[in-house]
Assembly symmetry: C2
Homo-oligomer: 389 residues x 2
C-alpha cells in the first residue's frame, strides 16, 4: 500500500424524501442565493424542481436557474453559469441531476471566483485558490460526482473532453433519494452501472499490493452487478436502487483507490469516443473496458485473472490462466449484453469509428502514453480501439 | 436500507513517516497552542513524542502535556486536561496514542468549552454546542476513535463506563503510520483486532436489509482476520499492518453501519466487565461476542448463519442451520485462540466474575433492555454472561 491522503468531507443525506431537506442543507453550508443547475425536462415533469424550489422559497432562499445541461457537458454552459453568478450575486451552486449537471456546477463554482478563463484549470494552466460551495440533489447514480472532487467538461472548440480534480469542489452535501432514480429510462440506469463499475476498475487494476482495498472493491463490484440484474426485471426495487446509488458514490469518492496507483486509460480512451461521437459515456465504456482488459492481460495477467475469479465468479478448477481470463472477460461482456448494451463501438456509433481521429485526439490531450497497470503507447491504444470495434 | 446521514470529515493522512506532517496539519485545522495527550512510556521511548514535539517546535506551535492516560480512561484525567486547557489558553487537542488517549482528548475537547461538568454529556443530561478541534497521531489500531464521533470514559465514582457520540469531536485529522504499530506488544495488536471486528459485528448483526453494506463488511472482516494471522507470525509485515490499521478506521467510521439498525449489546455488556475488572476491552469482547452469538442465534439465526458461511468460511453443504452456526462460532473462538486470547471470562479475570454485580451495573447504566438484532432482557444478559464464563 502506498502512502495516501483520504479526505471526503461530503455530508451524505440518503433515503426516502430526503430532497425535502435541501433548504436546511443549503443554509447549513452557507448558501443565501443559489444558482440552481439542472438538465432536461424530466426533473421538471417529475415535480422535483418544484419540490426543491418550494423548499428554498419556504426558507426565503432566492435562486437563479441554469437549465438544459446535456450529457457530455460543454464549456458554453459553464460560461453562461459564471455570468449568472456574477450578475445575481450567487453564493451557492445547487446541482439537481446526474454527473453532467454536477460537473457543470463544479466548473461554475471554480470559474466564478477566478479572474481568468475557467478552462485554465482543466488544461493545466492554472490552479484554483477558491470555489463557491456546491450542493447536490442526485437523480442519476453513475458518475459519482456527488462525492468526488472530479469534474469533466468538453470544450466545444476542438472537442477537448478533459477532467479536473480539486478538493475545493467536493460537494458540501449530497442528497440521495433512491426513489428519484426509479423512473430513469433503463438505458440511463444501465450506463450508470457501467460507469460506476469502471470507476472501480480504474483503481482495481493496479500493481500496488492492496489486499483489503481489493477485497472490499470486489464486494462492491459483485453487488452492483447483482443489483443491476435485479433492476432489469424490477426497476422499482428500492433495495437494489439504494445499493446501486450508494455504490456509485463509493466507486468514485476515493475509498476504492486509497494507497493504490490508479490507471484511468479506459476512461481517457472513452472520453475521445464520447467527445467526437457524442455517445453516452457508460455505453462507450462498455465497449472499451473489455477490449482494454483483453489487451493488458497479455502483458500483465495478474489482476485480470483475479477479477475473473473474484468478481466474475469464474470457477478456476482445471483451467489455465488464459482460459480463466477469457471466461472472465466474456462474462463481463455477457453482463453488459444482459443490461441491453452493446460491446461493439461500430454498433454503438452506427458505423466504424475513425480510429486515426480518436488516437490523434487522445495524443493531443494525453501525450504519448497513458495508463499505469500497463503503460500504453498510442499504438497500443490503436489496437485497443480495434479490439473494441 | 433505512434512511441515513453519513458525514465523515476527517482528513486521513496514511503511510510511512506521515507523523512528520503533524505541525502542518495542526496549523491547517486552526491550532496555535496544543494540549498534547498521550499514554505510557512507549511513545516517549520510541522517540515518537520527541519527533512530534520537534515538528511542533519548528512551526513555533507551543504545547502543554497531559500524559499517562491508561486503558479504560477515567474522568479524573479529563478534568485535569480541561484545567490545563483553561490555564494555558489551549486551542487544539492533539492525541498521540490509541483509543483511550483519543477518547480522553475528545472528552477534554467537549468539556473545555462547556460551563458545566463534561460528564453531563455522557450521562445524557446535556448536549454540547461546541468543542475544541482534535487531531490524532494513531499508534494502536483498535477503537477506530481516530475516525469516529464516539468516545468512552469511565467515571471512577461508581465505575460507570459510558459512551458519547458527537459530530463535534470527529477528529479533524488522523495521521496513521502502520510502522508505528510494529512494536506493539502482541496482546495489544490482538485486542485491537478483536475490537475492530466487534465494531463491525455490532452493525452487521441487524434485521435491516443491507446487501451492499453486508458484502463490503464481510470483505473487511475476512481481510482483518487473515492479516491478523499474518501478523501473528510476521509482526513487521507492512501490508498486514496497513490493512489492519485502515480496517480499524472503516470498522467504526460509520461506513459499515449506513442505513442499518445497529446493536451494541456486546460492547455494552463488555463495558461492565472492563469497568469492574479493568481488563482490556478487546480481551473482554473475545469472551462476550461468541457467547452473545450463541444466545441470539436461538431466537434469530439468519445473520449468524450468514456470518458463519460468508465470514468464517463454513462450508454449508449437507449441514443444517444449527450445525452451520455452531461451526461458525467455533471457528470464531478458534480464531481468538489463535491470536492467543481466551474466550472464557473466568480465565481472563482469574476468577469467576460476579454476574449479579455485572447485571446490576448494566441495568443501572442501560435500563431494562439492550440490543436490537435480538432485544435482550436483563435475564438474557445474565445468561450471556454465564455462557461466557
Amino acid at each position: 500500500m502506498n502512502n495516501f491522503q483520504f479526505y471526503a468531507p461530503t455530508d451524505f443525506v440518503f433515503g426516502r424524501d430526503t430532497q425535502d431537506r435541501v433548504a436546511d442543507l443549503v443554509t447549513r453550508y452557507g448558501g443565501h442565493k443559489v444558482l440552481l443547475v439542472y438538465g432536461g425536462e424530466s426533473a421538471e415533469k417529475s415535480g422535483l424542481i418544484k419540490r426543491v424550489t418550494g423548499k428554498l422559497a419556504e426558507k426565503n432562499i432566492e435562486w437563479s436557474v441554469l437549465k438544459g445541461i446535456r450529457p457530455n457537458p460543454t464549456d458554453d454552459r459553464v460560461y453562461e453559469g459564471i455570468a449568472i453568478v456574477k450578475r445575481d450575486d450567487i453564493d451557492f451552486i445547487l446541482a439537481v441531476g446526474g454527473g453532467s449537471v454536477i460537473d457543470t456546477a463544479k466548473a461554475i463554482a471554480l470559474g466564478a471566483l477566478y479572474g481568468g478563463d475557467f478552462w485554465d484549470f482543466y488544461c493545466g494552466k492554472a490552479k484554483p485558490e477558491a470555489a463557491l460551495p456546491v450542493g447536490v440533489v442526485l437523480t442519476i447514480p453513475a458518475a459519482g460526482s456527488e462525492g468526488s472532487p472530479n469534474s469533466v467538461i468538453t470544450k466545444i472548440d476542438g472537442l477537448h473532453k478533459l477532467s479536473y480534480r480539486s478538493l475545493l469542489t467536493r460537494p458540501k452535501f449530497a442528497i440521495m433519494n433512491p426513489e428519484l432514480t426509479m423512473t430513469l429510462p433503463w438505458f440511463q440506469t444501465a450506463c450508470g452501472v457501467v460507469d460506476m463499475l469502471c470507476h472501480i476498475f480504474e483503481r482495481y487494476f493496479s500493481n500496488t499490493p492492496a489486499q483489503l482495498v481489493n477485497a472490499y472493491s470486489e464486494a462492491i463490484m459483485r453487488d452492483v452487478m447483482d443489483q443491476a440484474l435485479t433492476l432489469r426485471v424490477r426497476p422499482d426495487d428500492y433495495e437494489a436502487r439504494a445499493d446501486v446509488m450508494w455504490a456509485g458514490t463509493l466507486a468514485h469518492n476515493g475509498l476504492c483507490g486509497v494507497g493504490k496507483e490508479e490507471d484511468w486509460a479506459t476512461h481517457r480512451m472513452e472520453h475521445e469516443v464520447s467527445a467526437i461521437y457524442n455517445v453516452a459515456h457508460g455505453a462507450g465504456l462498455a465497449c472499451i473496458a473489455p477490449a482494454w482488459m483483453t489487451f493488458v492481460a497479455k502483458r500483465n495477467p495478474d489482476m485480470v485473472w483475479k477479477f475473473a475469479i473474484n468478481v466474475m465468479s469464474v470457477n478456476p478448477a482445471g483451467k489455465d490462466t488464459n482460459r480463466i481470463i477469457a471466461e472472465g472477460i466474456k462474462a463481463l461482456k455477457d453482463f453488459y449484453h444482459d443490461l441491453g448494451l452493446t460491446t461493439s463501438l461500430t454498433e454503438l456509433i452506427g458505423k466504424e469509428p475513425d480510429i486515426d481521429a480518436l488516437v490523434k485526439s487522445l495524443e493531443g490531450n494525453m501525450g504519448k502514453t497513458l495508463g499505469a497497470y500497463v503503460p500504453l503507447s498510442m499504438e497500443d491504444c490503436r489496437e485497443i480501439y480495434r479490439l473494441a470495434l
